[in-house]
């Protein structure tokens, strides 16, 4: 797996996930379960960002193993 996939998942994806919908959600009136969608999405991004980095870690590890093999 090329190194840039780890970079895309670990860095680019969290930035897109947080910054992409933020303008639309924080100025809109959309609610999820009665709570403003901006808050729900931002709080969901906390574990999602960890997950993205964990996946990047796995990809990098696999990449290193492939190179060693």
């Amino acid at each position: 797996m090329p190194a840039y996939s780890g970079f895309a998942v670990g860095l680019v994806l969290p930035f897109l996930a947080v910054l992409g919908p933020l303008p639309w959600l924080s100025s809109g009136t959309l609610v999820i379960g009665g709570i403003p969608a901006a808050l729900v999405w931002l709080f969901a991004c906390l574990p999602l960002t960890s997950l993205c980095m964990a996946v990047a870690w796995k990809l990098e590890k696999r990449d290193r193993q492939d190179r060693d093999d």
Binding site: G10, S26, F43
Partner: protein, 463 residues
């Protein structure tokens, strides 16, 4: 009255415990050289590095400021605050291991040591050192102001200057005992107590207010405007980058045993932010019930006063106070090391520690004094903190990636970026709601890129 006595007893017991822990951290390290004093000889494992680094997230400013900011400024504030801290972690995931490796190559103890080794320019070293010190100056005052506000809730018969003086003495004694080891060990207590305090207060909120009431309060939070969005996004970007190159954050990285530790920690850090939704419950409770507030930044404390038993209140106060003290200790250590290693050149190892202790004393005195006299000036300096700090980013990237850029271009980019950011911030020139730091960073990065293109074949000087 008895209730406050119980709260005071719990608070004092926890503060005494922090001192005992600082004393324990000295074990086997009673005779420290400067490397051990400033960077624990690079021996810290994952847990201690995590606690040191995450301390930045849960400062007294975050714990008291987040619920208050969410109450007064609504959703744009929450988006900005969570956005920049959260996105700093993926940046750190890739950048921090590179900084750690560059630090090992340069045998660095401070972030300015990196510059000294990679760019043969004493002027650049002095410029980044003075900049870093200047931008960190208000942080001591901010912690002191938070500590005075928190401890003031006990209504002890002491003046604010005595309270601030006591905090300064405690911070100095931690550092004098074992340098960076003390805040790292004390962070373990601090974080445990912060988690307990936030969980207790959330449970109390959920017991005293209906979920429906809290949800209604969340819908009355102020939404963002189009102008807010441009400013929020550009601010999140520069602060997420600035967070990773802040001098004190870089100094903490040098305490780690390996680059793997530094990288693994970043994966866990966003999970630690799951306390912010709980902190937001305080905001929603205050909004739903129309809770009378004793000050602009006291939502968290006021909710604790209203809902928690006296021992719980003591715990919350101790959590806030330790958060302030740990951050203060980290900043003191960072400024002390920058002066003794980078501003004053060529001090022998033993005198670096003495010099740092002298600087720490002066900085603490300055922080107490400014907390008493300059509350208006300091928020202005705090505003420019990230405008200035983020300008280190292109240079740090050059160091980490061993890019061949002449020091003149790096220095010019860094100074132009700072001048542009601060100039735009205070001149009132309309920039379409873009954060001035972002414009400065683009100019800075452009000059560094120019240097890279102009001198692609020149090797980076190494020690």
């Amino acid at each position: 009255m008895t209730e406050m006595r119980v709260a005071s007893t719990v608070f004092i017991a926890i503060i005494v415990l922090s001192f005992v822990v600082a004393l324990v951290s000295r074990r086997n390290h009673a005779h420290q050289n400067s490397r051990d004093f400033f960077a624990a000889s690079g021996q810290f494992g994952g847990v201690l590095v995590f606690l040191l680094a995450v301390g930045e997230t849960y400062s007294i400013g975050s714990i008291m400021g987040f619920p208050a900011g969410a109450l007064h400024d609504g959703i744009p504030f929450v988006g900005w605050f969570l956005g920049y801290i959260l996105l700093a972690y993926p940046v750190g995931y890739f950048l921090n291991p590179l900084i750690w490796k560059a630090g090992r190559r340069a045998e660095a103890l401070t972030f300015a040591d990196l510059f000294r080794t990679c760019f043969p320019s004493r002027f650049l070293e002095i410029a980044v050192t003075l900049s870093a010190i200047f931008f960190m100056l208000p942080f001591g005052e901010l912690q002191m102001a938070g500590l005075i506000a928190t401890i003031g809730e006990f209504h002890w018969p002491f003046s604010p200057v005595v309270i601030a003086g006591g905090c300064a003495v405690l911070t100095f004694s931690w550092l004098a005992l074992s340098g960076v080891r003390a805040p790292a060990f004390v962070s373990a207590i601090k974080d445990s107590i912060v988690i307990l305090a936030v969980v207790f207060i959330s449970i109390a909120v959920l017991r005293h207010e209906s979920w429906h009431g809290l949800v209604q309060a969340s819908r009355s939070m102020k939404p963002a405007t189009a102008g807010d969005n441009v400013h929020t996004i550009t601010t999140i970007i520069i602060q997420a980058l600035g967070f990773c190159v802040a001098p004190q954050s870089i100094a903490f990285l040098f305490t780690a045993r390996s680059s793997g530790i530094v990288r693994r920690n970043q994966i866990l850090m966003p999970l630690y932010m799951l306390m912010f939704p709980l902190l937001l419950l305080c905001t929603l409770y205050a909004s739903a019930t129309g809770l009378p507030l004793s000050g602009k930044n006291t939502v968290f404390i006021d909710v604790a006063l209203a809902l928690l038993p006296s021992w719980g209140l003591g715990l919350v106060m101790a959590a806030c106070a330790l958060s302030g003290l740990v951050i203060l200790a980290g900043i003191c250590l960072c400024i002390g090391s920058l002066v003794s290693r980078n501003l004053v050149h060529g001090l022998p190892d033993s005198r670096q520690k003495t010099c740092a202790k002298l600087v720490i004393t002066l900085y603490l005195v300055f922080s107490v004094y400014t907390a008493m006299h300059f509350s208006v000036l300091m928020p202005v300096l705090t505003t420019v903190y990230y405008l200035g700090i983020v300008q280190f980013f292109p240079a740090v990237l050059c160091v980490c990636l061993e890019l061949r850029v002449p020091s003149g271009f790096v220095t010019a980019g860094f100074l132009a970026g700072e001048a542009m950011s601060v100039g735009l911030a205070f001149s009132g020139v309309p920039v379409g709601n873009v954060n001035p730091g972002f414009i400065g960073l683009v100019l800075n990065a452009g000059m560094v890129a120019l240097g890279l293109a102009a001198n692609a074949s020149r090797p980076v000087p190494r020690r």
